[in-house]
């Protein structure tokens, strides 16, 4: 097959940074291939994309695209006609406020005739399945839809190669599925060459070939099966194994014969084969019903009839919450899931009165109730002893007790030093604090988030690495020792190792620092593995609120809502259809143990 990209001994280093971002990288890409590139943060994956597209010029080595030398500046535009890149943040790639104008931008740049542009817009929009949004404005689309428009904008240039540079990192599972589906179809049906750079191992599995980057070099290259077989090697590259590979490994360790498979249905078949060989054709793992709802304490949260509408009384009014009833007990590690736009962020912003209940607004007057009509149902929220429907409540004290870490909290850092930034909240809430007390509190909170106080306190927060910045931002919230800590997508945008570390940090905080931890997430596996109870929010209502073990037995209902189900629930469903009932297994370890239990049971019988 024709090689579309050829790279030999590529080198690149950013000015002002130590070490090479890319050192001595050689590879070829054939026409029509689907390649995935994985690697830890800073491994050089994105640099690679920018080199291929001619956005960066290599320091050494040779790079050709369709025989053109990319290093020659004269070829830059010509190369970009053939290699399209979709970047990470969908918001920062659009130039126009109307979808069709944005898609037209690329073809206009290369001087395509008017009528032909129209045809290309039609084609690109149908390729990404967004025909009906031609005249929409991107601001009103979901993340996944915006990213599909970004893909269409690149497609309209009619490139031969499509590079996705972590284009799914900021999307929810639904949006990610949409984008990946589009890309796979383009590869299959249009023969588009695809290079998919990603943090999600599950996405990397879909390619024909996977390249693993480590510290600016290609560490491994091969089919996904070959790569993920080498589990231990991956971990030394700061990558995690896909969950499914971990289960395979666990089961093999228990003596089962499991091939390295990458799809849940295949793994279920493998498990069934093993069980059948032992004469097991049905069975049930032991099932201990999950602990009863948590006991109530001093800091319970009770939400009743909560409704909320954005831009009320304007033509753009949107209802975000629609009668939410929910109780969260003191001491829980609680999860709130739902896809983007389900109202989950709006819900948690009520808990520390960032959004006040209507009755708590200064201007609020009791509505007059007409005779014969029922009185309107008013929403109510209590958090511990705070009544959020009361105007007289001390909302500042409430905010000191209910800490809130927003999505991408590192974007809210502002002070000159890490110390000043962390102390900001402390000083706001308690103006009388002495310097020594302030210092002690800042020190404690920086240390619990895993940073060395002496090392970072005088640094500018903007000089830290991405993971460190997020830790500083979390420290800046927990410094007041809130009883309840709420985090909106705490692991968003991190690489697998960073994700794992942040979840470990949250468990540590739950044990030692804040009594109640509430995480808002769209990652089902994350929630299933960490939370004591989970509320599923859909269309502004609580669809279900239960322990993960109970909740994920309702896999089909969740899928119907457009939500993902944890991997273990997927495999359990397949097994259940074949008489092997596994209930209440949420983590990879629990699941492996229960399968092994049935398997061992067969041996004893």
């Amino acid at each position: 097959m024709e090689n579309i990209i050829e790279a030999q001994n590529l080198k690149y280093s950013y000015s002002g940074q130590e070490g090479c971002a890319i050192k001595d990288v050689s590879f070829t890409v054939a026409r029509g291939e689907f390649i995935s590139v994985i690697g830890h943060n800073g491994s050089g994956k994105s640099t690679l994309a920018r080199l291929i597209n001619g956005l960066l010029e290599p320091d050494g080595g040779k790079l050709t695209v369709l025989g053109m030398d990319v290093c020659d500046g004269k070829n830059a535009v010509e190369v970009r006609k053939h290699v399209g890149v979709v970047f990470q943040n969908p918001d920062n790639q659009m130039v126009a406020s109307i979808v069709e104008d944005d898609i037209a931008f690329g073809p206009e740049n290369i001087g395509v005739e008017r009528e032909e542009i129209g045809k290309r817009i039609d084609w690109a929009l149908s390729a990404v399945g967004m025909e009906q949004y031609r005249h929409s404005t991107p601001a009103r689309l979901s993340g996944g839809q915006k990213q599909r428009i970004a893909v269409a904008g690149v497609l309209a240039i009619k490139p031969d190669v499509l590079i996705l540079d972590e284009s799914t990192a900021m999307l929810d599972p639904k949006g990610r599925r949409e984008v990946i589906e589009v890309v796979r179809r383009l590869n299959r049906e249009e023969g588009m060459t695809v290079i998919l750079i990603t943090h999600f191992m599950e996405e990397a599995l879909l390619a024909e070939r996977t390249i693993v980057m480590n510290r600016g070099e290609i560490a491994l290259s091969g089919t996904p099966e070959e790569i993920f077989k080498r589990g231990d090697a991956l971990e030394t590259f700061n990558l995690s194994l896909p969950r499914i590979s971990v289960i395979c490994k666990n089961l093999r360790a228990a003596g089962m014969e499991i091939a390295d498979v990458l799809k849940p249905e295949e793994l279920a078949l493998e498990i069934l084969k093993n069980l059948n060989n032992r004469g097991i054709y049905g069975g049930q793992s032991s099932f201990s019903p999950p602990a009863q709802p948590q006991t109530r304490g001093d800091w319970d949260i009770d939400i009743k009839n909560l409704a909320f509408t954005y831009s009320k009384k304007s033509p753009f009014a949107t209802r975000a919450l629609n009668g939410v009833n929910l109780s969260i007990c003191d001491g829980e590690f609680f999860g709130i899931i739902g896809h983007t736009g389900s109202g989950k962020s709006t819900l948690v912003q009520h808990l520390n009165a960032l959004i006040k209940l209507p009755q708590a607004e200064k201007k609020y007057r009791k509505p007059k109730v007409k005779k014969g009509r029922p009185a309107p149902v008013l929403p109510s929220i209590t958090v511990g002893k705070f009544d959020l429907a009361d105007k007289k409540t001390d909302f500042k004290a409430l905010r000191a007790s209910v800490g809130m870490v927003f999505q991408y909290p590192e974007y809210q850092l502002f002070a000159e030093t890490v110390f000043a930034d962390v102390a900001f909240g402390l000083k706001n809430f308690n103006k009388k604090l002495s310097d020594a007390e302030t210092e002690q509190a800042v020190k404690n909170s920086l240390e619990i988030v895993g940073l060395n106080y002496e090392e970072v306190k005088d640094k500018s927060p903007f000089d830290l690495s991405g993971g460190q910045k997020r830790r500083v931002a979390i420290a800046g919230v927990i410094v007041t020792r809130p009883h309840i800590l709420i985090l909106d997508e705490p692991a968003a945008g991190l690489d697998p190792k960073g994700k794992k570390e942040i979840m470990e940090l949250l468990h540590k905080l739950h044990r030692e620092w804040c009594k109640t931890v509430i995480i808002v997430s769209h990652d089902m596996d994350e929630v299933a593995e960490n939370c004591t109870r989970v509320a599923v929010i859909s269309g502004g209502e609580v669809f279900a609120c239960d322990s993960p073990a109970n909740l994920f037995t309702r896999a089909s209902e969740l899928s119907a809502l457009g939500l993902d189900v944890p991997l273990t629930a997927k495999i359990s469903t397949y097994l259940g259809q074949n008489g092997i009932i596994i209930r209440g297994a949420c983590t990879v370890k629990e699941f492996s143990d229960k399968v092994i239990e049935i398997y061992e049971g067969g041996k004893n019988a």
Binding site: V85, D91, S97, N109, I157, N428, F462
Partner: protein, 281 residues
């Protein structure tokens, strides 16, 4: 704080005025403003008012939102009003103190001026209520096109405007998020004196600025990757077209111009009837 800022003034509807060519609407507005200042008596002003009322009806926008646009210029209105009442010269003096005097001519002139400004603001607000910022930009770009001959960067200007429009909602969202995050850390933006309040903005402005730069950089890369290399050899997908509606509206405006010119010629005085009436008594 910014929760209720729906971007721009645009009122979505599908009316005659909404569907006019934005270039025509811009030119018509300019023409209307010129007419307002050409009009030198209450009859021609009344003709303008009738035109305005017809437009509001044809635009199917709520009358309230057109009138509300006055709020923004109330200060200017009061200021010029006071200035004119006290300083305008005239023969029928009602009150005098030093150089300050109130005359009949002054009062009439002030009322006249008020109406002019009222109509001006209302007409502009009809334009922004019925035209999306995007098509307004398209219109401006198209109208400025002749300036490319004198090397004026019309395309670049239009691109800057279009990108600015595109990012306003994004940055408003971002601002709201940062405000909420800092409020959650106990920041207080609503109390204290003006200096305190300005200082309290720092934790919002710095992250916002940093994010704007980050976005600009990423957008630059994305534009490069989509083959952007300036206006050279560039084609344009969208073309504006004059339609039958524009012709109808053009005829109406033409009738108005003719009307105002005739009324100006035949009723020279600012408002002869009132003069005569007041002088008699």
């Amino acid at each position: 704080m910014l929760n209720d800022v729906t971007f721009g003034q645009y009122y979505p509807a599908d009316s005659f005025v909404h569907r006019l060519d934005p270039r025509f609407k811009l030119l018509a507005l300019i023409g209307f403003i010129v007419l307002l200042f050409v009009a030198n008596n209450f009859y021609s002003l009344a003709a303008c008012a009738i035109m305005l009322i017809i437009t509001v009806i044809a635009a199917r926008v709520p009358v309230g939102s057109v009138l509300r646009s006055i709020k923004g210029i109330i200060f200017i209105l009061v200021f010029t009003g006071i200035l004119n009442i006290f300083f305008h010269s005239g023969q029928t003096v009602y009150w005098q103190w030093g150089i300050l005097k109130v005359t009949l001519e002054g009062i009439i002139f002030t009322v006249f001026l008020m109406f002019r400004l009222f109509f001006l603001v209302m007409a502009s607000s009809i334009l922004t209520l019925t035209t999306t910022p995007v098509s307004l930009t398209d219109g401006i770009e198209s109208l400025l096109k002749p300036l490319t001959l004198i090397k004026f960067p019309v395309h670049e200007l239009a691109l800057i405007m279009s990108i600015a429009l595109r990012f306003i909602p994004t940055l408003i969202d971002e601002t709201n998020r940062i405000i909420s995050a800092q409020k959650a850390r106990g920041a207080d933006f609503e109390s204290g004196n003006i200096f305190k309040r300005i200082r309290a903005m720092v934790p919002i402005l710095i992250p916002l600025l940093i994010s704007a730069f980050r976005r600009a950089e990423e957008l630059g890369d994305a534009m490069d990757a989509r083959c952007y290399s300036g206006s050279k050899n560039r084609t344009k997908y969208k073309k504006l077209r004059f339609g039958w509606r524009d012709l109808v509206a053009f005829l109406l405006i033409g009738a108005l111009i003719a009307g105002v010119v005739l009324l100006n010629l035949y009723c020279f005085d600012i408002c002869p009837q009132i003069y005569r009436f007041i002088r008699v008594y």
